[in-house]
Point group: C2
Chain length 252, copies 2
């Protein structure tokens, strides 16, 4: 399993991904699912991947090697996409390419073409944007009303984002809330686990701000998990007991 989230706030963008991959419970490995494409000052893009690793890695390879534009004949990579919209389309085209080459064999082997991506970033002076790209290559974009997207095992970590994140959340708080969301997911699904990769980018800098891998035992994340647990415990203890009256027992 995988859990990745991207949060796009006024100040910039946070992307968080776990690194656990499994092909059966006895074959658990760590793979990078968060990829950064950067030309500082010009562009910063981050791509998070979920689903079949052979497919997502091939897509990333195509995005690095480039895909031929059918109209112009030019070789295009994420590093020269003119806009974030075109960059999202390029991921879609990479998906089409992988499906065209591998789709039939995967179908024959009963492997589902089940992948999804988050692509966030900023290219030059255009506003930062964040997209979720589906297996068919189509995509949606997150808006200011609900400024986050998730892929993979997303439900456990959704309530905290729903409650706490809005477009005016600071970049630091967005990162903190993303880590709490990751913690909730890790507690309820053993298939999502450390290390966790994080990338943040501050609007209009066109470069990474923080690039960090949280390893097991890291003090800050450990402390965040402990504090969050303790706070939840205190929170439910502080809620008064339910006032509902017992059914009256017939004394007859």
């Amino acid at each position: 399993m995988t859990y990745c989230t991207g949060i796009l706030v006024r100040e910039g963008l946070v992307m968080i991904a776990d690194t656990r991959t499994n092909a059966g419970l006895d074959n658990v490995s760590t793979y990078r699912k968060l990829h950064v494409f950067e030309t500082p000052g010009d562009r910063i893009l981050a791509l998070a991947t979920a689903g079949n690793l052979s497919i997502t890695q091939s897509v990333v390879s195509y995005l690095n090697e480039g895909l031929t534009n059918p109209e112009t004949g030019d070789l295009e990579t994420l590093m020269d996409a003119p806009t974030m919209f075109r960059a999202a389309q390029l991921v879609g085209r990479a998906l089409h390419k992988v499906r065209a080459t591998e789709g039939q064999s995967l179908d024959a082997a009963g492997v589902k073409f089940d992948v999804s991506f988050l692509l966030g970033g900023q290219i030059r002076d255009a506003a930062p944007r964040l997209f979720m790209i589906y297996a068919a290559g189509n995509f949606i974009e997150c808006g200011q009303e609900m400024p986050y997207l998730q892929i993979g095992e997303h439900k456990y970590g959704k309530p905290i984002l729903d409650r706490a994140v809005n477009f005016n959340t600071t970049l630091g708080d967005a990162l903190k809330l993303g880590l709490i969301s990751m913690d909730s997911t890790m507690r309820s699904n053993l298939g999502v686990g450390l290390p966790i990769d994080i990338v943040t980018m501050r609007r209009d800098t066109q470069r990474c701000e923080i690039v960090h891998r949280i390893e097991a035992g890291e003090p800050y994340f450990h402390d965040l998990r402990e504090r969050w647990s303790a706070a939840l415990r205190a929170a439910h203890i502080a809620i008064p007991p339910p006032p509902y009256k017992p059914v009256e027992v017939d004394k007859a």
Copy 2:
């Protein structure tokens, strides 16, 4: 959608179910999904249902009308099941019966036989038990290490149960935590909604303690939701900001 949870603690059992049913977003209704079967002093059983309403209602009808035991020829209902295990088996047999009568037509219509049940309760002096029954009629039982089960849209509300519920949780706290779990689900999935039905039973009383429907606007549940939100907000604000250092920008 549906969300139901059952929590089995030392003091007794809590069952909670929402009531929203939909056949498409333009056809949303309220139906009882939590059914109580009680002979005070002898037995108390509660059955929560998720999935296709025509199937779950037929199962409940069979459990009320009785099913013929193929070995003895006797008509059996939940009201005369000798043990909770036999009661769970009876729910399984009711499912087989519905599948035998309706399965082919449902298949032909492309309707999935997609249902699940929670059955909890106590019969006479035997310990209270809680089962989850799958569409095939097979079932699992919850244990003391993880004393709750869920059906329907279960992921949003799982983290709080994972963190806070254990076998020594009081019955009142189990109800409160179940309601917090329901709140998390309702916030993240509009298909789960008020009113909410709750039933509690205290061990060795063999009768309902609380039977209650929480309607929209009820002060206690409204207050619980507000307090929980406020506490979560305070909790994440109290966590220190992430200490990760920005990538050093090359000044060259």
